[in-house]
C-alpha cells in the first residue's frame, strides 16, 4: 500500500468521524424520543412509544412559549430583512474610506456576545421608558417588543451578509440603462434591483427566522416576564429532563431538514435558470430544472428518511405500547427478584460464617441484613422527588445496581416499587 493510499484512507476516516460527531448527538437524541423510559436514554431500551409527543403537545407552558417564539420570529423577519437590505445597499455606495468603518460596526453586532446585546437593549429601553415617564404596560417594558429589537440588532447583520453576496453579482449597467431610458429611481429599484434580489430576500428571511427561533442568550434578558420556547426549554432542561424534549427535537430536526430541502431545490432551480439564461437565445426549459433534484443525493437522502419514518409509524400502528410496557415491567420485576434472592442468599451465607466463627456482634449482622435500611442513604439523590411523582404514571425503573449506584438519578422510582412488594 502506497503512502498516498494510506493518506487518503485516513482522510476519509477522519471525515466520517467528523460527521459522526456532527450527527451522532442529534441521532441519539431523536431515538430517545421513542423510548418509553422516563429518562431519555438509548439503553436499556424499554418500549417503542410515541407517548412523549403527546406529553409535549399537552405541555401548556411549552406551547405558549412556542407561540411567542413564532410571533417573535416573524416580527424579526419583518424588521431585519429591510434593515439588512438598507445596510447592504448603503455599503455598496459608501466611499472607500468610510466603508471599512461601517462594515466593522455592522459585523460587531454579530461578534458582541448575545448576553451583552440583551443587557444593553434591556437597559437602554428601560432608561428611555423612564425618560418618557412611560407606564409598565407601554412597549418599553414589553418583553416581546424588546426581544424583537434585541434579536434584530445582530440578525440584521446576517441578512446584510446575504444581500452583500448577492449584490456582488449585480451588474450596475442594468440600473444605469433603466435610468437612461427614463425610469425613476423607485421604478428602477422595484423593477430591476428587487427582482434580482428576490432569492436573497427569501434566503435572508429563512435565515432570520431560524436565527430568531433558536436564540437564547439575548432573549433570556430581553424577554422580561414573558417566555419563548427557548427560555421554557432552558428552565425545563435545568430542572430534570424527560424525553418530551427529545420529541420536540425530532419535530424541529424534521422541520429544519424540510426547510433545508426546499431551500436547496429552489436554489438549484435558480441556478439552472441563470445558466440557461447565460446560454444566448436558449429559452428556460422547466423540464430540465424539474428533473434535476432527483439526480443529486440530498433530496434522495431526505426522501429516504421520510419514507423510513413513515414506515415505522405505519408499523407502530399494529403494536400495543401498554402490552410491551407490562412485559418490560414483569421482566424487571423478575430480574429484581433474582437479584434480591441472590443477595439474601449471600447475606445468609455471611451470617452463617459469622455465626460459625462466633466472634461478631449478632446485632450488627442483622442490621446489615435488614432490607430497606440502606435505601435511606439516597434520599438526597438529584431527581428523587420527580421520581416519586412520576412513578404513579410511568413504569418503575430498573433495579440492576441499586446499591452500588445510590446517586443515580432515577433510583427512587425503583424503590417505591420495591416497597410496594
Amino acid at each position: 500500500m502506497s503512502s498516498a493510499t494510506i493518506l487518503r484512507l485516513t482522510t476519509s476516516f477522519y471525515i466520517i468521524l467528523f460527521f459522526a460527531y456532527l450527527f451522532g448527538p442529534l441521532i441519539v437524541m431523536s431515538i430517545t424520543a421513542f423510548n418509553s423510559a422516563a429518562f431519555p436514554r438509548l439503553s436499556p431500551w424499554d418500549c417503542f412509544s410515541t407517548e412523549w409527543f403527546g406529553v409535549l403537545v399537552n405541555d401548556a407552558r411549552m406551547m405558549d412559549g412556542f407561540k411567542n417564539s413564532l410571533i417573535i420570529g416573524f416580527a424579526v423577519v419583518l424588521v431585519s430583512v429591510p434593515i439588512g437590505l438598507a445596510g447592504a445597499l448603503m455599503l455598496s455606495q459608501l466611499s472607500n474610506r468610510v466603508r471599512p468603518v461601517f462594515y466593522t460596526l455592522t459585523i460587531s453586532t454579530i461578534l458582541v456576545p448575545g448576553v451583552v446585546l440583551g443587557i444593553s437593549t434591556l437597559i437602554f429601553w428601560d432608561r428611555m421608558g423612564m425618560m418618557f415617564n412611560a407606564g409598565y404596560e407601554s412597549f418599553f417594558y414589553d418583553g416581546i417588543v424588546l426581544t424583537v429589537i434585541g434579536q434584530s440588532t445582530f440578525i440584521s447583520a446576517y441578512t446584510m451578509l446575504v444581500f452583500i453576496s448577492r449584490l456582488q453579482r449585480f451588474d450596475p449597467v442594468l440600473e444605469e440603462a433603466a435610468l437612461d431610458l427614463g425610469a425613476t429611481n423607485i421604478q428602477t429599484f422595484r423593477k430591476i434591483l428587487l427582482p434580482f434580489l428576490k432569492p436573497a430576500i427569501g434566503s435572508a428571511a429563512v435565515l432570520a427566522f431560524l436565527a430568531s427561533f433558536e436564540n437564547y442568550n439575548t432573549t433570556v434578558f430581553t424577554i422580561v416576564s414573558e417566555s419563548t420556547l427557548t427560555t421554557v426549554l432552558a428552565s425545563k432542561v435545568r430542572y430534570g429532563i424527560n424525553p418530551s424534549i427529545s420529541a420536540l427535537a425530532v419535530i424541529i430536526i424534521g422541520l429544519t431538514l424540510t426547510v433545508a430541502f426546499i431551500h436547496e431545490v429552489l436554489k438549484r432551480k435558480e441556478q439552472a435558470r441563470e445558466i440557461a439564461l447565460k446560454k444566448e437565445g436558449q429559452s428556460v426549459k422547466e423540464k430540465s430544472t424539474v428533473r434535476k433534484p432527483f439526480r443529486n443525493p440530498v433530496p434522495v437522502m431526505v426522501l429516504l428518511i421520510f419514507v423510513v419514518g413513515l414506515g415505522t409509524a405505519w408499523m407502530a400502528r399494529g403494536y400495543d405500547v401498554q402490552q410491551c410496557k407490562i412485559e418490560v415491567f414483569e421482566e424487571k420485576r423478575k430480574h429484581q427478584e433474582e437479584l434480591s434472592k441472590k443477595r439474601r442468599a449471600e447475606m445468609q451465607k455471611k451470617l452463617n460464617t459469622q455465626k460459625s466463627t462466633s466472634s461478631s456482634d449478632p446485632v450488627e449482622s442483622t442490621k446489615k441484613a435488614a432490607p430497606g435500611t440502606i435505601q435511606y442513604g439516597n434520599i438526597f439523590a438529584p431527581t428523587n422527588l420527580e421520581g416519586q411523582v412520576e412513578s404513579n404514571e410511568t413504569e418503575p425503573e430498573i433495579q440492576k445496581n441499586q446499591y452500588q449506584n445510590i446517586f443515580a438519578p432515577t433510583n427512587l422510582e425503583g424503590q417505591v416499587k420495591s416497597e410496594n412488594e
Binding site: G24, L105, I107, G114, V115, S156, N217, A234
Partner: protein, 310 residues
C-alpha cells in the same frame, strides 16, 4: 461630506435615500451603539432602583466605581486580596474559550480543506448542507443532546461499560468534558466557513508545485495552505472565541456543578441578584477584555478587522 450626500440623493432619489439613511441610522445608532453607551454609563451608577427608586436622577445619582471594584476585590469585608471567585471564573472562562477555539481550528481545518480541494461537486454540496443543518437546531436542544450522551447513565458511558473499557461510569459533566465538546460542537460551522472561503481561492497549481518540488503533505500545509488561509483562520477563531466566551445556554445546562461560566454570574446579578448596574459592569468587563484579546491576536497574526465575516 455634503457633496457625498448630494451625490447620494441624486443617485437614489429622495425616497430611497431617506429609507437607506434612516434605517441604517436606526440600526447602527439606536439599536446598537446607543444601548452599548447606556450600558456603559449604567455600570457606573448605584443600584438605586433596588435601594431607593426616588433617588434616580436626583443629586445622589452620581457615578461610582463600586461595581468594578467589586469584580476585582469583592465586598469590603472580603479577607482575600481580591475577589477570588469572580476573577478566577473570569480567567477560567477566557482560558476555556481559547481551548475551545483551538479545538475547533484543529478539528475544522482538515474538513475545510477537504471541502475546498478534495471533495467533488455533489459530495461538496451534500457536505455543506449537512454542516448547516445541525447549526439550525436549537442551541438548547444541542445541549440537551450532549446531556443524553454524556450523562452518568448516558450513551457513551453505557457503551464504554459494555465494551469493558471502563469499570465505573465517568462523570463527564463534572469533569467539564461535556461542556467543552458541546461548545466545540456548537461553533463548528463558524470555523469551517471562513477557512473554507479562504482555502477555496488558493490556486491548486501552488500545491502541485510544492508537491513536484518534493514537499511532503504536512509541509505543503504548513508552508503553503495555512499561510494563505490565515485571514480565514483568524476570523473563524475570532467568532468562535467571542461566542464561546459569551455562551450562556450550554454552561447552564451541561456545565459542571462546581464550575461557573462568567456569563452565568452576569445572569445571576440580573435575575436573582437584582443588581443591574453590577451586572452591566460585569458585562462591560467581559466585552472589553474579549475585544482587547481579539485585537491582540489580530495584531500578532497581522490580520485586519475588515476581513472578518467574509
Amino acid at each position: 461630506m455634503i457633496i457625498w450626500f448630494q451625490k447620494f440623493f441624486e443617485r437614489n432619489g429622495v425616497v430611497l435615500s431617506l429609507y437607506m439613511l434612516i434605517v441604517t441610522f436606526i440600526w447602527i445608532v439606536v439599536m446598537f451603539v446607543l444601548p452599548q453607551i447606556f450600558m456603559f454609563d449604567f455600570s457606573f451608577r448605584f443600584n438605586w432602583t433596588q435601594i431607593d427608586p426616588s433617588k434616580i436622577g436626583g443629586p445622589e445619582d452620581i457615578y461610582t466605581l463600586q461595581h468594578y471594584k467589586f469584580l476585582l476585590f469583592g465586598s469590603p469585608n472580603n479577607p482575600d486580596p481580591f475577589n477570588i471567585v469572580d476573577v478566577s471564573v473570569f480567567a477560567r472562562t477566557i482560558l476555556a474559550a481559547v481551548f475551545v477555539t483551538l479545538f475547533d481550528v484543529i478539528l475544522c481545518y482538515p474538513v475545510a480543506y477537504y471541502l475546498a480541494h478534495v471533495a467533488k461537486g455533489g459530495v461538496t454540496r451534500l457536505m455543506m448542507l449537512s454542516l448547516v443543518v445541525p447549526f439550525w437546531i436549537n442551541e438548547l436542544l444541542r445541549a440537551f443532546a450532549f446531556r443524553i450522551l454524556f450523562g452518568e447513565e448516558g450513551t457513551i458511558n453505557n457503551i464504554l461499560l459494555f465494551l469493558g473499557i471502563l469499570n465505573q461510569p465517568i462523570d463527564f459533566v463534572r469533569e467539564n468534558i461535556a461542556l467543552y465538546t458541546g461548545l466545540g460542537y456548537a461553533y463548528i460551522l463558524l470555523m469551517i466557513f471562513p477557512i473554507y472561503n479562504a482555502v477555496e481561492s488558493l490556486d491548486r497549481n501552488q500545491i502541485e508545485a510544492a508537491r513536484d518540488l518534493g514537499s511532503p503533505w504536512w509541509r505543503i500545509h504548513w508552508r503553503v495552505v495555512i499561510p494563505y488561509a490565515k485571514p480565514g483562520i483568524t476570523s473563524g477563531c475570532t467568532m468562535v472565541f467571542m461566542l464561546s466566551a459569551g455562551a450562556l445556554a450550554l454552561p447552564q445546562i451541561i456545565g459542571g456543578p462546581s464550575s461557573l461560566w462568567f456569563t452565568q454570574i452576569i445572569y445571576q446579578w440580573f435575575n436573582t441578584g437584582s443588581n443591574w448596574p453590577r451586572g452591566s459592569a460585569y458585562a462591560v468587563s467581559l466585552l472589553v477584555i474579549c475585544v482587547i484579546f481579539v485585537l491582540l491576536i489580530m495584531k500578532i497574526f497581522k490580520v485586519k478587522f475588515g476581513e472578518i465575516g467574509r
